[in-house]
Point group: D2
Chain length 137, copies 4
């Protein structure tokens, strides 16, 4: 009984591309981050509120990315998010960028996030109520 992973839909615009005619490699990290933001929002978590109300930000500690095929201007993409590790101060996500019309996987990433105090950038525990929203959805 497994649910499909969370997916965020988006378009490629001129800003995303480079002179090679395809999406610039750093911009996939923007796409992955947009999808994580919407995955959090779908769990009722707004990051600006977290920062201002409980002094918490999620930071990326490490990641690995594969680039399998290029995305191009005007492409419709679907960016997935799947939780693969749940801990009290950190979690890991598996993500992918899928080409909407062909279904091809263009990129894959494993992303390791950690909770920090927004004011000091020191690691901190994720409050229980927040952990439940994150991990039990």
């Amino acid at each position: 009984m497994s649910a499909a992973p969370f997916a965020f839909s988006m378009r490629v615009y001129w800003e995303d591309t480079d002179a090679g005619g395809v999406v610039y490699y750093a911009n996939y990290l923007k796409f992955y981050e947009r999808a994580r933001t919407e995955w959090l929002r779908a769990r009722g978590i707004e990051q600006l509120a977290l920062k201002e109300q409980i002094d918490l930000v999620f930071a990326i500690r490490s990641l690995s990315v594969e680039y399998l095929a290029p995305a191009k201007l005007d492409d419709a993409l679907r960016v997935s998010v799947e939780l693969i590790e749940r801990k009290p101060v950190q979690f890991s996500l598996r993500q992918a960028v899928i080409h909407e019309t062909s279904g091809a996987t263009l990129s894959r990433a494993d992303v390791h996030a950690v909770a920090l105090k927004a004011s000091t950038f020191k690691p901190r525990r994720i409050p229980t109520e927040l952990l439940q929203r994150l991990y039990n959805a």
Copy 2:
């Protein structure tokens, strides 16, 4: 009998903000460009196809922007597009960025676009069929 201007809805993500806590001033030009791209798409015009099939790109010749109030992380925005000048090789658009929940206008821009040959960057006439899609919607 006037129609509401075209509007494109979007969110502010971390990538759009800067250390001042608000959207970085150059990134409004990305938002304006996304809205123009969707305005073209709503008229049946796909820019990658234009470039590859008839060697035409639209380039921005000049623009002016006002920044009235800052957009912030997680804000829902509406970016409008209104045609204010129609000519055979160029056109002008009036655009605005509206804060979705408050209705406040955060930024306004006038943008002057011109048709170029994609391969040489020389000005060229816009083909009649394309002019009709652009100007008569």
Copy 3:
């Protein structure tokens, strides 16, 4: 007896270009901002220190840009900064992007900046000592 305007030297990288094969129009605003930052630094003004020590940020209120010819990957550019209006809470700059090898002007901009409280984004006077650094260099 007039001095040459301040100039900042930089290169075009892949990140700056788009699928048209040239620098994306919003990225010129990054180039203009880098040059303003170095122009401030040359006057002994570090913006992070300003923000943290006297709660002041400079924000752009409005600007106009002309795009005259495209910059390309690997181009060496020179971005100029010239003060054209000095007031107690605001100032205006004239800027240009020059192609280093040809000397061609690729873009020109007039930029209107204002001093704000970093914490509230309300306009504020520029302290006298800072005004002197800004306007008397």
Copy 4:
């Protein structure tokens, strides 16, 4: 008898930061790419010329990045490049972002690059003359 790795010096500007007050995680990939571009240029390799003259681009196939400590506005950074694997169609680089004044390593990355035909994005051998510039410097 080992040489110090190639290093590229740069500054952090507003465009690089986000509302967390630090450099946005995707922008380190821009810094890494700028350093690789200058590492190539130091070997006499200009990428726009490669693309136009021999239809070759270097693309990133995969990478892993660690984020150890945040870079901030106005920081002076040094980005290193070290060749760790040399093959006929691909190579791997180890890179790091160093904080200029403290000497602290802020980020580390391993980057795997491949030579492609610019027109088709198919893998291709790197011509011998180019291999020698790349690998024997």
